[in-house]
């Protein structure tokens, strides 16, 4: 069962002089277990789109369903939908507020009215998922942690709701390369455990590394929705939209232009290395 957006259109402040159309006839679906990248320049409609996936915004036209449940204002399934679709906003550490990490992670599950033992079990599990050792971090104040650790606490808080879909808006922005690496590794592992992940990112390298499928949104409409390699083969079109291709792909395109017969659709440094070696060793 998927998240389905069916011909969704949305306008901020409709019927006013400030009306700002944000989504235009968007139809996509996110199936369970998928790892989807979502790219688009600032203001292209990415954030508006993801807020439709768990009922923070409702379409002006078209409809959204999550596992068959319609996403409607005051709909009876809204609470269940918001539990199933976990949303991690930009700079989620700004939303930490409890006096210690364990309490912060427990905040969400508590609102579900679960038993205490179950809440504790989930807190431990969620912290483990993001590599925060329970004994070491449970009593720490979230505000004393490093940037990367804070962000992992925020993600653990969403995981503790045991969502089926996890949508993250720029989870690596502002993190150092080490912190970024940790978050990306954890997303990969969570996906391997069956969690569907939607990664919104301005880093073409990050989506190339993890996503299988890539959705490109431009001026509120879906322009591409395909395998990552297929989408990144449209280098010129992406550049015209203010986007880019991964650095390694740019290298391969340059080599090709200069006459080295390399395959261009590589997504990682390892693949690039193999491809260059293959061609050089045969030259």
């Amino acid at each position: 069962m998927p998240i389905v957006l069916d011909h969704v259109s949305f306008t901020y402040q409709p019927d006013t002089p400030f009306a700002a159309p944000a989504l235009h006839d968007v139809s996509i679906n996110i199936r369970s277990g998928q790892f989807v990248g979502l790219i688009g320049h600032t203001g292209s409609g990415k954030s508006t789109l993801i807020q439709h996936c768990n009922g923070l915004l409702f379409p002006l036209a078209g409809q959204v369903t999550v596992d068959g449940m319609p996403v409607l204002p005051k709909g009876k399934d809204l609470k269940e939908i918001r539990r199933k679709v976990g949303l991690v906003f930009q700079y989620p550490e700004q939303q930490l507020f409890e006096e210690n990490v364990a309490l912060d992670v427990a905040f969400g599950p508590k609102t579900l009215g679960l038993e205490d033992a179950e809440i504790q079990r989930r807190v431990r599990w969620a912290m483990k998922m993001v590599d925060l050792e329970f004994a070491k971090f449970k009593d720490a104040s979230p505000f004393e942690l490093s940037g990367g650790e804070k962000r992992r606490v925020a993600i653990a808080g969403v995981l503790a709701m045991q969502p089926k879909y996890l949508i993250l808006d720029e989870p690596c922005a502002g993190l150092d390369p080490g912190g970024r690496e940790e978050i990306l590794d954890q997303l990969k592992r969570l996906n391997e455990k069956g969690l569907a992940i939607v990664l919104v990112s301005h880093s073409m390298d990050d989506v190339a590394r993890l996503a299988k499928r890539l959705i490109v949104i431009h001026e509120g409409a879906v322009v591409y929705d395909d395998q990552v390699r297929q989408v990144f083969s449209k280098a010129k079109e992406l550049a015209d939209m203010g986007l880019d291709v991964p650095a390694v792909m740019k290298l391969m395109m340059l080599l090709k232009e200069k006459g080295l017969d390399v395959r261009q659709s590589v997504l990682s440094a390892e693949e690039g290395q193999e491809e260059i070696l293959r061609v050089l060793n045969h030259a």
Partner: protein, 270 residues
């Protein structure tokens, strides 16, 4: 020029963020500072215009010491800062008004403000947007307006703390190009903090911070050749450097001076 001597800074008894930093930056240099979160980069940056004052040691910019109250405001005017989030830095409703905010507060003549605002918007390529509403701009455009607002005060030094972290690829290019142009054409000294090594290689000099001290300092080529050391410090290297490192391991002795994919392509396809 910027002179930092034995700078220590303590947030509280437990946390010493800077532990003896010495740094000399000549006028007109483009210096990139890299280091993982918590290494002290931003704390150092905030000392350059007196947002933070040293626990011990000295920071002087063109002879103005941040600890000297009578020189404090001249220091603020000479050293402008741009931060990560464009939305936190813009205050007026139109681009032009926002750019004029700084000079107005310095009490400049209106005719002079007019001229400096026009020139500042021109240098960042935003003159066509001067009547536009700030909230309708893209991230890259907002950051360029933030830079223009500082340029309108005619600073000598521009300090940028991860100015592209929240931007899309086009926005990142716009900001990088604008900063390089200011450095090249206006001889502005640039201190550029970043996690993106592709940006750091475009600087004249790179400083690596770790645990509140400077652990590496040199030209980009000297710094980025030390791939293993950088990885140990939890930093990245640009893709071209990574690729040279990998290919060298396989017996292709490419020069270690390669920093960009363009240089690598030339080397592989002579």
């Amino acid at each position: 020029m910027i002179e930092i001597k034995n700078l220590h800074y303590q947030y509280d008894e437990k946390m010493e963020a800077l532990r003896g930093v010495d740094l000399f930056v000549p006028e007109g240099q483009f210096l990139a500072i890299v280091g993982h979160n918590g290494s002290g980069k931003s704390t150092l940056a905030m000392h350059l215009n007196g947002l933070l004052l040293p626990s011990s040691g000295d920071v002087t910019v063109n002879g103005l010491n941040s600890k000297n109250p009578s020189e404090f405001w001249s220091l603020r005017q000479q050293v402008g800062m741009v931060f990560q989030n464009p939305d936190n830095q813009l205050i007026a409703t139109s681009v032009e008004e926002d750019t004029a905010f700084g000079p107005e507060n310095l009490g400049m003549e209106p005719s002079l403000i007019r001229r400096q605002v026009d020139e500042a918007l021109m240098t960042v390529g935003m003159e066509a947007y001067k009547d536009k509403a700030v909230h309708l701009l893209s991230g890259g455009q907002k950051q360029r307006v933030a830079i223009a607002g500082i340029m309108a005060m005619r600073p000598k030094v521009l300090v940028l703390d991860e100015p592209t972290a929240m931007l899309d690829p086009r926005g990142r290019n716009e900001v990088m190009n604008a900063v390089h142009k200011l450095n090249r054409e206006e001889r502005i000294t640039v201190i550029y903090i970043t996690h993106m090594m592709e940006e750091a290689v475009t600087a004249q000099r790179v400083v690596v911070m770790e645990e509140g001290t400077i652990v590496m300092d040199g030209a980009p080529v000297e710094i980025f050749n030390q791939v293993e050391e950088l990885k140990r410090l939890r930093l990245d290297v640009p893709l071209a450097v990574e690729m040279v490192y990998r290919l060298r391991k396989h017996g292709f002795l490419l020069p270690e001076s390669i920093l960009t994919i363009e240089e690598l392509a030339v080397e592989l396809c002579p």
